[in-house]
Symmetry: C2
Subunit: 333 residues, 2 copies
Amino acid sequence: VAELSRPTRLIDVAERAGVSIATASRSLAGAPGVSPSLAEQVRRVADAMGYVANAHARSLAGGHETSVGLIVGEIDDPYFSEIASGAIAAAAETGRLVQVCHAGDPVELLAQIRLLRASNVGAMVLAGSGLVEPSLESASNAELDAFMKSGGRVAVVGRHGLDAPAVLPENVAGGRAIAQHLIELGHRRIAVIAGPAALTTVADRLEGMLDVFGPAVVSLSHHSFNRQGGAEGARLALADHPEVTAIVALSDVMAIGALAALRELGVQVPREASVSGFDDIAVAADVAPSLTTVRLDMAAIGAEAIRLTGGDTPTSIGTGHELKVRESTARRR
Amino acid sequence: VAELSRPTRLIDVAERAGVSIATASRSLAGAPGVSPSLAEQVRRVADAMGYVANAHARSLAGGHETSVGLIVGEIDDPYFSEIASGAIAAAAETGRLVQVCHAGDPVELLAQIRLLRASNVGAMVLAGSGLVEPSLESASNAELDAFMKSGGRVAVVGRHGLDAPAVLPENVAGGRAIAQHLIELGHRRIAVIAGPAALTTVADRLEGMLDVFGPAVVSLSHHSFNRQGGAEGARLALADHPEVTAIVALSDVMAIGALAALRELGVQVPREASVSGFDDIAVAADVAPSLTTVRLDMAAIGAEAIRLTGGDTPTSIGTGHELKVRESTARRR
DNA sequence: CTGAAAGCGCTTACAG
DNA sequence: CTGAAAGCGCTTACAG
């Protein structure tokens, strides 16, 4: 097939097909103004030559973008890798490629948005959480606004201070559901282990929980949104409040860290303390004990976000949630 | 900062700095032939304007590539997401962006390589396994060869039939290590649950294991390289060979599936049967029971692969392995 | 050391 | 319906 030392160009296809590059371009784009039979023939030639348009030239010339940028906190985190998986699959459906970037703070975020913009992606998806304090987002939002004004499409996951279509995970309702579950099990001395207070995701989940828990929360602390943070939170909570009967983590990954800490401390779950998570990452059902959590379906969230960058539905959509009761929570003894 | 509705261009910077675009280009590239003070001034202006070069124009004009393609099986799989995480971080060190693609079979692989090539990435990393049967790789290898001939850099993870620098996970040695461990624990009736026989990764891990196990293997079956495949394998193995005392999965994800199946069947691990995995994904320590496995350090593998696309070390490198003994394996009773 | 100009591979008005 | 030509934003020989 490809014996050439450089990719086949449009002009190669045009020559072989005996047409101008303008006609070749139109034929391959399916643009009007070419006789159907000629277009078909050009397409056949292009196929046979394994031709794929140079994305840079196409982009520079003002054609359609084939690449979309996806900004996550850490692809390593199952929450984000499941979103990315859904996004990559959805993008592939329309022949688009996904550029994945890490951005853990506002400075990195701004840098990545600029890089993505310079890379001339057609769209960007912000999968990371929005920030509670708007001023911290202002620089990156200005850059995104400029991107959108120049025709770029943006979609966000969660509550951002940005006028862009959004996929809204049901964080408040999910928080309420998990809290309800624990209250029904009789728990009244509860420790909440939260992620960074700066994130809207954390604020929303917390809001739903505190709504239901009310005074049952005896301890609330903020930690990194990872395994380590969860372990730390669990140790601190139990040290300061040994009377706690349930530990509520704001993500599954944190809950898994909490579970590990409790194991080390010799605290039996759920006999001596219930533990719950949030997200329902794939492995939540396989840890010990299996984790009671709120399912968000991150793959669907990622796929929807990609679709929002394609269509002309500038609205926001939710994606549901579902309480998953497993072994890590039990009636208070 | 950016009030414009379109990104700042080189010509904007040049005008503001009072120089030609040629001089501006050289200044920003750090190319020789510009007086240091002028270059410094241009850089200051560019910074102040938040200028980032249009990657497409740069690429078309023959400048350096800033994007690298990473082809994985499924980003959702922790094995690959950990590789991707290391790769993205390493690429960011040199200001490069990573395009992540899914390719589950030779046809998809060929399509993704072409798309990546058309997208004019400067380098590609094949993170998925090579294939035992060379003819199945020939089409994609031809495309990769053409890419390399035209100056593209390629690095692969694992044993591929391709003349490119490679990061070689120690699959054979790792297989031997885990097998040794089980033999030392006294197991002599062992079921091996492997991934697809078509993959060199599977062939290599198997080779190391069978070397040591010899006739102790009473059952060997191939399944999908995922949780489902592991569960299926465990059920089949126990149904056909109830005398088995150890189940060896060829990846942690498969082992987690096996653990789930055994739980459903009421088989106690490790009391009634030992179970081992391979890879040491992050969650291996947190499942129930925690998983004995071989640690490969995928993040390091991903980072090394990216580095191989940058340097001029066209060699192959290994990245070590380490037996991690946890709760899922025990002495035969 | 600096600049004018060609060219990368496309797409899209503009002519015919 | 088809083609010649301009132009996207850069980089890099080629002049000076």
